[in-house]
Every structure is written in C-alpha cells, then in structure tokens.
Symmetry: C2
Subunit: 456 residues, 2 copies
C-alpha cells in the first residue's frame, strides 16, 4: 500500500537513489521501523537507501530543503532506540554503502564504508594477516558506521579501547549536505579540532558517517581462557588487579550465580565447578604463542581464586566462554528484560552490586536484576526481569544508584531515545548546554536524529 | 612603569586575583611576552595570574564583559606562537594553578591542575609506583594544561599515544565564564559528545583548560637502547617493521648524517660507528625486566642493520640517547632555524626525505634542512638553517611538499599563529568551515586566543 503523504520530497529522493531504493510501502518499511530489541519502534515517512556518499549528501540536501527530519540506520542492532524513527522521519539506511578498500599493511589501517558489517571487516582484516580491535556479539549485522556513531565497546576494550580508539579518520555528511572527509589516517596530526572524535559517539545527531579509516591490530592466533570462581565482587577485582600484569590479557568478564543458573538451564550446561561461588570471572589472553603459562601463574599466585578451569583449545575456549556469552539469550528467554548498560569506578563496584537488588526491589518488589559485564571498565549490563509495568521506575532507580556511585548511565550502548531523559544524571547542565550549542552550530534546523541523545 | 591604558578592566581583574597578580608594568610582563623560541613576541595589555578555577572563570567573565581578548599561557614552551599575544590581549597565565591530587592507584589515574609541570607530574606518578605516558624535552617547564591544549607528542607516542590519549577528563572555562567539569575519569562513558577530546588540541581557542584527569601507565624500570646504523630511510623503515614485534618497544627515532655531524661537533661526541651510514635509528624498549635480549634478537634478524650498539645501563642509555637528544641544541647553536614539525604516511617517508633538500634549495639556495624525528608516526622535525630572509618561502615550500605527500603540516606542535596561514594545506575548506562554526558556537565574540589555529 502506498502511503497517502507521498510528495515532492519522495520524488526528489527517487531522482537521487532510484525508485527501487525509496521504500514508502508499509511492508517494505517495516523491517527498518522496529529495532533488534523490539522495544523501540516508530513509523518512517519513507526509507531511503543511498548507494554512496554522493547520494547520501544529495538525500540529506533534499531533506534539508524540505525541512524533513532524518533518522540514520546502520545494522539496526542498537539497544537505545537511536536508529528507528520517533515518527514521521525519513529513515536513511546506509546498508548499501558496503565497499571495503584494500588493507594498508604498512600503516595497519583500512578504509571501509559505513554499511560494512563488523564480521566482514574482521574477515577482511584477517585475510591480510591483521585483526580489528573491537568485537561484539552483533558482529554479523552491526555496521561500522553505527559502531562509530555509538562508540561501541565489547569485550576487547580492556586491550584496544572502544570504537573511537580504532578510528583514524572518517568521512561524514553534515545536515546541510556538506561532506567532511578526513581519511588520510595519519598517526599524528595536530591541525585543528578533532572533528573525527567529536562525531564518534554523537549518535547521528551531528552528521551521517559514510566512510571510516580504521586502525587494525595484530592477528593473535593463540588464546587461553580461564573461568574462575571467586567469593564475590571484591575477589573479582583482586583477580583483575593480578591479571592486569599479563601483557596478553584481552578480556576480563564477570557474572554472578543467578545469571549462571539462567544460562545453565537455557543452554543445558553443566555446573562449571563442584561448589557454587559468589561470582565468576572469565579471563582471556591472546598472543602469538600460547599464553596459557602466564594465566596459570597468575591464578596460582592470586589468593582470590577459589577454583578455576583453563582451556586453550577451540572447543574448550568456546565451552568456557559460553557461560558468559549465553547470558543475553538466556535472559531474553526468561522474559523481556529492562536492559541497562552502566559503569561505576572500580572502587564503587562492590557497593553498587550489593545495593542493586534493594534499589530494584524498592520500586518493583517482584523484579530481579541479572548482572554481568566487562570487569576492567566497571561496565555492568543490568538486565531487570519481571519488572512488569514498573520498567520506567526500575530504570530510574538503577540509573540514580549509578549516579550516586559516580558512574555513567550509559557505558557502551549510548544514550539514544531510551536514556535521553536521564542524561542530566551523567552530564552537568553546563555540559548539556555546550552540547546543544555544538548541535545548533552543525545542525541548526535540528534535522538529524531529533530526540536522540539530547533531552527534549 | 605603569602603562597608560590601565582601566576599569584592570581594576576588576585586581578585585578577582589581587593586585600583585595583575602585571601591567612592562618589565614584569616581559617574560610572558616572548616565547621559548624567541621567534614569537607580542605585547600584552596586562598579565593576570589567577590562583584557581573560580578565579579563572571570574577573569574570563571580566574580560568578556569588557570585550577584551585573551591569550592563555602555560609554561610558555610552545613552538608555534599560540601562547604569546599578537598585541593587546589580556594574557592569562595558569602557572599558579599547581595543585596535584593523590594518585588513584586502583584506576591508575590522577587529577592535576593545568599549571603543573610535566616533570612534577612524572615525579608524582613515580612516587606512587606508576608513570606518565608522555615525555618530552621541555618537561621542566611545559605544563599539563598547555600539553592538553596542544595535544603534545614526544618520543613515547609509539607506545602510549599523544597527550589526548592520556586525558580521561578535564575541567575548562568557556569564553563566557561557564565552567565545564568532567573529572570522573570513567574508563567507558557513552553519554553524549566527547567535549574532552574536542577541547584537547584546540589550542586555547574554545576554552581555558584548568584541571585534567590523566591516565597513568606502569612504571617500567628496565630499559634497553640500540643505536643502529642503516643505509637510509628505507632501511630505517624495515628496522621499524621488525622492531614493532617487540611488545616492550617504547621509542623509535631517526636522524641523518648531517644532524649527527652537528651533534658531534656541538656535544663533542665520538663517532658512534667506524663507518658513516645513510641514516641512524634509536630504538628503546622499556619493561619490568631487562628487555635487552629481545632487542638483540630483532637486530640479529633484520637485514637492514648495518651496524649497531646496545646499552642497558644508565650511562650507556644516556650516551646513546644523546646522539638524538642533542639535535635541538646543536641546531640552535648553529643558527636560528626555521622549525617545522610535519608528518607523512610511512609509505611516503623516503620520497619526502629525498625531495626535501631540492625543495628547500629551490627557494633558498644557501639553506640546509636538518631532519630528525619520530619514525613510527612518520613525524619529522625539519629544521632549516641559513634560510636568511627566505624563512617564509622555505616554510611554504616544505609544507607544500608535505601536503603533496599526503602529510600533515603540524604533527605534534600545533598550528598556533605560525602555521595558521597554511592550515588549508591540511584541512579541507569544509572542515575549516565546520571548525569555525564550532568556534562561533562556544566563543561567539572570538575572545579566546584570536588569530591562533584558524586562519584570519
């Protein structure tokens, strides 16, 4: 069914990208209008699928001329509702921007289009004997452009930093159609404001990222993983402090008994240890040669270790990682969780974990909070099940607890529409005002991702 | 002698900081009005020395109310004229902002005032068993605030990145006196625009940095240094590629025979090798335990090595480093150089080095270009001696050659007043326009460091 509000703008967009790439029919729009969480959904005026940067710029110019707001979408794997319409925006999908340039082995860099998936980037880098520093579960669908826009994290941040640390330059389209291009990838360059880092993490509110120059890292074929039982969060932090001595350390993840129970029942996994423990840590080392000895040495020397199991073969690595990696699916199978992604300073982590159940119970007595995450950065994914109609109150209570412990209300997922009302818990009024001034300077009409990131 | 134009503004400034910290007398102003290079000098309306962030904010508000432009100064060790007045500005010295907070060993971070010197920061970190990731020759005078404002580099960028990579957060005063504070130092935080990274490297044109939250790195007591003779730039790059396999690699510096001759004659050093070579590389490794074996292994396996000498004791380290470190002084003793700080992609480095003498000779036949720098980032310090009255033409010729090789006209010194006219060689008109819009958004009256960074 063709929508009734097809107008001159749609004709202009068809002239840019071709009629087949302007989707106005509801059935064709639908896959773009609801995100991966199924929590965020909104109707697009139409979906436009430009094929290159020039087309993106022309699409943005056409929308600007019509005063039509835009929502930008990559792989639609975001978790905070930043990539789906609030209602009535032109949805610009970057899926067709999918070119990869040859890997520059001398500089250990590569330039790829925004619509290239993480999985394809990883394969491309590995074929050249290198690797990409960020990895996350949505790799088959998440796109490079979206990962830059949200400054995505994942399990390797401990070693290589977040997505912004991988970005050596980028190309982006401003709200008036101007193309900013900075793809030279120079290792050091002190010629003015770092627009690349300003756009990274700006969630599509300042510009549409169309191409990215990315740093690559060495390909490290030898891995060792330890699953370690500890008495609780303090023990996990003691183990982390010891493990940080390992130059090969590439991940340090934490989870708890209630999450383990859900995972074991969902994935039919055996108990990892004879006795239950207060908390569990997954340590991974990656190197050119087998890093197992270093891991064993750390475990032997750390008083916090209650029990541990170590693997360095493919099957063993997968088996130990599955206790951590199955959390998201296991929680999803148990209900529709209220998902929060927070971090606190490491010195506050134990207190935060201890106080969380009480804070949730105070507003939703039947709810339970399953917690797991990236130990090194104090980054916990708080998944609250059985909150019922109290999801908003739970969100508010958890985020206020985070703020009381000097934490961030969004550690790696971004603010999006989901967290925008709580942004003042993490940024001062002065910072928000400065952000608004920058937004107004680059997008005076407020056409790019309205309602995302900055509170209304 | 009191200047004739003392006015209400000076009285207002005295009310903020006290009469002894408003310097209007020419003799008292003089040390602030000429920079370290002695190339840049300009008269200040007065020098104001606030004692804390609140006083900085009040000083900025007073200047804003009077419409008086401001120049911000740290240790006055900048090399591009960004910290001295063009003429008539209020010079705000941050030297009295000199507090250091205790080192946070759990987070490996510390918060210090902008006026703290690098040397003091290093001592403070080392006393806590940690170290700071950036080091440079001006450490006794260069201040943390200035180093953030210019995104300073140095010899450890290879391992830890430039100054911006060390900055976990900062506090700064905007042009209207608003204080932005973000000193929590969270390892991961995706709540909106990265104002910290926008201000880092903005050379005082967007805000006055008053405090900084800095990441610290492990203290690595064991060092090994190799001075290596190679046939030329290509050989240096082959050696670099091999040395990058060393996890302990912390520096890779390059210099050439003409620089070595100046250094030997200035510092009365013996020839490092029996035969002269086409180029010389200094490699340094730093680790918890003696890294010498790894260095020897790399040298033995690299065909590019013509000759080499290795040291791991204090005297030997100093001796080998002196061939590289004495360059700046030796060149200064030979004349007043035109100093340029550029980088090119590594694939362009050999061609750039080969073409440089011809490009200089074409505009200044009597001049000679001495080159040395940070090999890993393709960052060369080009020092042109005997350019006479052709310094401007030499600058233009070298920077155009850099641009032709896809390089940057300022790799680690910044743009300042010295390079502002050439900014379009490194940034597109679209980028410069975006920078101007951001500048206008945060400093609409253009009061902060006018004439610095953005071309007039």
């Amino acid at each position: 069914m063709t929508e009734p509000f097809v107008t001159e703008l749609e004709d202009a967009l068809r002239a840019v990208v071709g009629a087949t790439h302007v989707l106005v029919d509801g059935d064709l729009r639908a896959p773009y209008e609801t995100d991966w969480t199924r929590r965020f959904t909104g109707r697009a005026r139409c979906v436009v699928r430009p094929g290159d940067t020039g087309e993106v710029a022309a699409v943005v110019r056409a929308c600007a001329a019509a005063g039509a707001p835009i929502v930008v979408q990559g792989g639609n794997t975001g978790l905070v509702g930043a990539g789906v319409p609030a209602g009535g925006e032109v949805l610009v999908s970057l899926a067709r921007l999918d070119r990869v340039e040859p890997v520059d082995a001398v500089e250990a860099q590569v330039t790829v289009d925004a619509g290239v998936t993480l999985e394809r980037l990883q394969g491309h880098a590995r074929a050249a004997g290198l690797d990409f520093g960020v990895d996350l579960a949505a790799r088959s669908a998440a796109t490079v452009g979206g990962m830059v826009a949200t400054n995505a994290g994942g399990i390797r941040v401990l070693r290589y930093g977040s997505m912004r640390a991988q970005v050596a330059g980028l190309e982006a389209v401003l709200a008036d159609g101007t193309v900013l291009a900075r793809l030279g990838g120079l290792a050091k360059d002190n010629t003015g404001y770092d627009l690349t880092q300003l756009l990274a993490g700006s969630e599509g509110t300042l510009a549409v990222v169309t191409r990215v120059r990315l740093r690559l890292v060495p390909l490290l074929p030898a891995r060792a993983v330890a699953l370690v039982a500890v008495a609780g969060t303090d023990g996990a932090l003691d183990l982390l402090a010891a493990a940080r001595e390992l130059p090969a350390l590439s991940a340090a993840e934490v989870f708890y008994p209630d999450g383990l129970d859900l995972v074991r029942s969902y994935a039919r996994l055996p108990a990892p240890f004879g006795e239950p423990a207060g908390a569990y840590v997954v340590l991974e080392c990656a190197a050119r040669t087998d890093p197992t000895d270093g891991v064993l040495e750390i475990l032997a020397g750390c008083d916090a270790v209650v029990d541990a199991t170590v693997a360095s073969d493919r099957a063993g690595l997968d088996r130990l990682w599955s206790y951590r990696e199955a959390h998201t699916e296991a929680i999803g199978a148990a209900g529709v969780p209220t998902k929060l992604d927070v971090c606190v300073p490491l010195g506050e982590l134990s207190a935060f974990v201890a106080e969380l159940p009480g804070a949730v119970a105070a507003v939703a007595p039947a709810a339970r909070a399953i917690v797991f995450g990236h130990l090194n950065e104090g980054n916990l994914h708080v998944n609250v099940l059985d909150a019922g109609e109290r999801a908003e109150e739970v969100t508010d209570a958890v985020l206020r607890l985070v703020a009381a412990h000097r934490g961030s209300i969004s550690s790696e997922h971004g603010v999006g529409r989901a967290k925008a009302p709580w942004l003042p818990l993490s940024r001062t009024p002065q910072e928000i005002e400065a952000m608004r001034r920058i937004k107004a300077a680059l997008d005076p009409a407020g056409l790019l991702n309205p309602g995302v990131l900055l509170p209304a």
